[in-house]
Structure formats: C-alpha cells, structure tokens
C-alpha cells in the first residue's frame, strides 16, 4: 500500500513538473509588448481569453519602472531604456479584471501608472 502511494505521489510530482515545464517552454497563445514611460503603460488595457498562456514583454522608454500584478505574486523591475526587457508569462485561469501597476518610484505621477488585464 505504502509503495503504491509512493508511486502515485511520484507520478503526480512528475506530472506537475512536466506541466510547468510545458507552460514555460511552449509558445505563448498571446504576446503583448507593453511600453512603460513616465507615467503610463501603453497599452494600459489588455484583453486576453481564459485559459491562454500570455507573455508580456515589458520595455521602458525612459527610467526603470516596476511591473506588479496586484495579488498575483508577479513583481519585476523593468530595466531602463536601452538596457533590455523583462518577460512575464502567466496563465489566465479565471475570468475577471486584474490591475497591474508600476512598483518602482518613477516620478511625480507614479501613483497613476496603472493598467488592467481583462480575462474574458
């Protein structure tokens, strides 16, 4: 019985790893380039379909900004202009509206540097 349970657990772990690996490696269903510039993301409203694997390519047109999706455990720094880009992948599991915002102080209008993802 114990041996059976061990085998079942191993299979489950392997399946989980395989799924995660697949999501990381497979081609995203949707790629969106988001430009960050004091004090706005462009585009600031992004619509995706439920179940899609989405990749955001985050590029700054001036200083370094942050990109945080409230409550989703995603918070990265976008490098300044000319210093590369950050890529964030996630799976849109549920329908709804999810706010993202700049998480690095970037100037006078920082608080309003926000946007949202609409999962339909």
């Amino acid at each position: 019985m114990v041996v059976l349970m061990r085998h079942a657990l191993t299979v489950l772990v392997l399946a989980g790893l395989l799924l995660a690996q697949t999501a990381e490696n497979r081609k995203p269903d949707r790629v969106v380039t988001i430009n960050a510039e004091r004090f706005a993301f462009s585009p600031s409203k992004i619509t995706v379909k439920q179940g899609q694997l989405v990749e955001f390519v985050l590029v700054s047109d001036d200083t370094d900004h942050g990109f945080r999706i409230a409550g989703a455990g995603i918070d990265v720094a976008i490098p300044p202009q000319g210093r590369g880009e950050a890529k964030v992948r996630f799976i849109a599991r549920e329908k709804g509206r999810f706010v993202f915002e700049c998480s690095r102080a970037c100037g006078a209008g920082h608080n309003l540097m926000r946007g949202y993802i609409e999962v339909k």
Binding site: A20, A23, E24, N35, R38, F39, A40, S42, P43, S44, K45, L58, S60, D61, D62, T63, D64, G66, R68, I69, A70, G71, A72, G73, I74, D75, V76, A77, P79, P80, Q81, G82, R83, G84, E85, A86, K87, V88, R89, F90, I91, A92, R93, E94, F98, V99, S103, R104, A105, C106, G107, A108, G109, H110, N111, L112, R114, G115, I117, V119
Partner: protein
C-alpha cells in the same frame, strides 16, 4: 560511522536480536537531532503571498530584476539639478538649483500617498534673499476603478508638459522652456481635490477643484506665474477648476489638452478677475527623432480695474495684460544608435511668448515683453537617469531699446 563516532560500540553479537535492535534504537535516539517539540517552538516561516487564483505565474525572464518588497512599498526617490548659467558679459554662476526628494507609501493596493519635497538654490536663511524649501506635492490617491479615482492634497496643476514631468532627464535644455515658466507657471501646485482615471483606448484624464491664483501678484513681465499660491495662504473662496485630457494610445505619441478657469481676487478687494487658460501639447518619437510642441493662451478679465487697484496699493502700475500667449516647438535627434546604451541628443527649441499679447483699453503693451528665443544644445545621457546638458540661448524681443542678452547654460541633472 565507527570512524566518525569514537563512542560507538558495535552491539555484542551474542545478544538476542530484539535486544540488539533495542540497543541500536537507543543509540539512534541519542544521535538524532533536536526533538520535534523544539522545531515546533520556532517561529513558522512566513507564508508566501497567495497568488490570485485568476492569474497563475509561469515564468519571469529577460533582463529583469525581481522587485523586492521594499521597492514595492515605495521608498525615497528624487532628482537633483545643478546649473552653471552665464549671460553674455557676465561670468558663470553655479547654482545647485534643485534638490528634491520624493516619498511615497502604499497603505493598501487602493490607498496610496505621494509627495515631493524640494530645496531650491541650496540654502534657506531667515530674512535673507536665498533659496526656498517647498512642498511641491503631497496627496492621497484612492483608487476605485481604472476610470475613476479620487485624489486630494497638494496637487501639481495638470497643465502643459513640464509641470508634471519635470525630472531633469525627461526634458532637453538646462532650464525649463520659457513658455512653461511665464505663460504657464511652473512648478505650479495648488491645494485641492479631484478625479483621475484611465478611460481606455489610450485616453486618461485629471480634473481638480483647487485653490485659486492670487491676482495681486500678477505682473506685466511674468504674467500670472507669481500668482500661484503654493499652498501658502491659499484661498478656496472661489475654487478654480483645472483639467487635462491626454491621449497616449499610439506608442511614443502623447497628445494633451489642458484648461484652467477660476477667479483670483481674494487679495484684491472689489476686483475679482477670472483667469482662463487653454493649452494643447504633443510629444512624438520615431526612430531617433523626437519632437514636442506646446501652445498656451491665457485670458484675464477686469485687468483695467486690477491695474488701477494695484497701482493704488503699491504705487507701481503692474501693467497686467488681458491676454497672454506662447508656444514652442522642439525637434531633437539621437546621435548614437540605441545599441550603444548611451545617448547624445542634439536639439533646438524655438519659443515665442508674449506676456502682453492684448492689453486693456488705456494700457500700452511693452515691446520687450513680446519675446522669442532659440535654444540649441546637447544632452548627454551616460545612463537614462543622468543627463549632462549644454545649451546656448539666443534671446530676442520686439524692443529696439531694451535688448535681451544671450546666455550659455551647463547643467547636470539626475534621477534616482
């Protein structure tokens, strides 16, 4: 194991198997680490924030850095601006023009605080002509919906380009444009409250009710710019209305329009002029070419009465105009390809600004307030947040008597 533990003794082979197992168990208990109770007494590790069920993070790659919690809580940021100004016939005058610290705090995902604290000209001394310490902005944002948020406190007027985007690396030229210092005051801030939001498709807005301008400080030379209250002895008797609608739906293109309207007579008894400003601006970048431009027009009512009253009060006729107008255009070119990681921007700016565009009957416009300027220079950015600036300013006016002098400016500004 025997080699590692000198106290270890192999159990006597003559012992019964059960006794030998018991002896080994006892020995194992002695060697095992702390009992479970001790581990349980220690503080449990902090649980990672539960991800929103709707979005499942998969990976973060690229030239990123993970923003730690400290950065998310908005610590101190700031900018500095060091100038060396020289007018023709004069020597270079160094001036640590601005030392600005910005503080913010997120009370929650919906309630956020932001502030900007400034020391100008590096020194403030009681009773002496020197710099100033000023609260440039301090407000609370209550974020409700993307299209509807509340803001209250000391607010930057959302008029023009530079008033809200004044970090030194974000504009060319050592000094801010003349139009955005004379026709539109800068840094223009007022006490008030209002709404902000993103309407979608690249449109966003700000609309505020604020304290009013003070007409007793208007003048012919500087227009309304000295009339901003800066939050000190401000009046809300006749709150002013200001707003801005902006379109940023196309990458690297921003178009904006702003307005201001309000009475300004709380310090001029019996005369309560209305000030109205209409402004339009745009910024666009394509490949290595940038262009920005702005047009602003100001109307002031009852300037005849205002001039008469201020002449009686001060003995000097301020010669305040009933209309002011200004505009500028600034093309710029990035000399280095993007792959260099550094940037050299060559720019030129033409400005035309007249603080006496139209006068009240009986008052004469002075030609030396009908001014124009060509500003040509270079901005070197070793990183996007540090700007070493140089420019030459050709000042002109309509006056044939009072000739404005040209100037050279050097500046070093940085944002952190």
């Amino acid at each position: 194991m025997g080699q590692l533990d000198p106290t270890f003794r192999r159990p006597d082979p003559s012992m019964a198997l059960a006794d030998r197992v018991r002896a080994l168990e006892q020995r194992m208990e002695q060697l095992l680490p702390a009992p479970v109770e001790t581990a349980a007494a220690a503080a449990p590790p902090p649980e990672p924030p539960a991800p929103a069920a709707g979005l499942q993070p998969v990976s973060i790659t690229g030239d990123f850095q993970r923003a730690d919690n400290g950065e998310t809580r908005l610590p101190v940021a700031g900018y500095m601006d060091l100038h060396f100004n020289k007018e023709r016939g004069d020597s270079f005058r160094p001036d640590f023009h601005r030392f600005v610290l910005l503080f913010g705090h997120s009370f929650s995902d919906r309630i956020k605080f932001w502030s900007e604290f400034e020391l100008e000209h590096s020194l403030v001394e009681g009773g002496e002509p020197s710099g100033e310490i000023a609260l440039e902005q301090a407000y609370l944002d209550i974020l409700v919906k993307p299209y509807l948020n509340f803001r209250a406190g000391m607010l930057l007027a959302p008029v023009g380009i530079v008033n809200e985007r004044h970090e030194p690396p974000s504009f060319n030229g050592v000094e801010r444009p003349f139009v955005e210092t004379t026709i539109i005051p800068t840094t223009w801030r007022e006490l008030g409250a209002g709404l902000t939001g993103d309407l979608g498709r690249g449109f966003r807005y700000r609309a505020y009710l604020t304290s009013s301008l003070d007409a007793s400080r208007f003048s012919g030379e500087f227009g309304i710019s000295e009339g901003r209250s800066r939050g000190f002895e401000a009046s809300m008797r006749n709150p002013a209305t200001m707003g801005r609608l902006e379109f940023a739906g196309i990458r690297r293109l921003t178009l904006g329009g702003s307005f201001y309207t309000g009475h300004a007579g709380f310090n001029t008894p019996g005369v309560n002029p209305r000030i109205s400003i209409a402004e339009a601006d745009g910024r666009y970048s394509i490949r290595r070419f940038d262009i920005r431009g702005l047009f602003a027009h100001t109307w002031i009512t009852r300037t005849q009465d205002l001039n008469r009253l201020l002449t009686l009060q001060t003995g000097v006729n301020p010669n305040v105009a009933r209309q002011l107008r200004g505009y500028y255009v600034e093309p710029a070119f990035h000399l280095l390809p993007r792959r260099f990681g550094k940037d050299i921007i060559a720019f030129t700016r033409y400005e035309r600004f007249n603080t006496q565009h139209r006068m009240a009957p009986g008052y004469l416009a002075l030609p030396h307030f009908d001014r124009s300027a060509w500003v040509a220079g270079l901005t070197y950015k070793p990183t996007p947040d540090v700007a070493l600036k140089f420019d030459y300013v050709f000042n002109r006016s309509r006056s044939t008597v009072l000739r404005p002098v040209d100037g050279i400016n050097l500046g070093l500004g940085w944002w952190f």
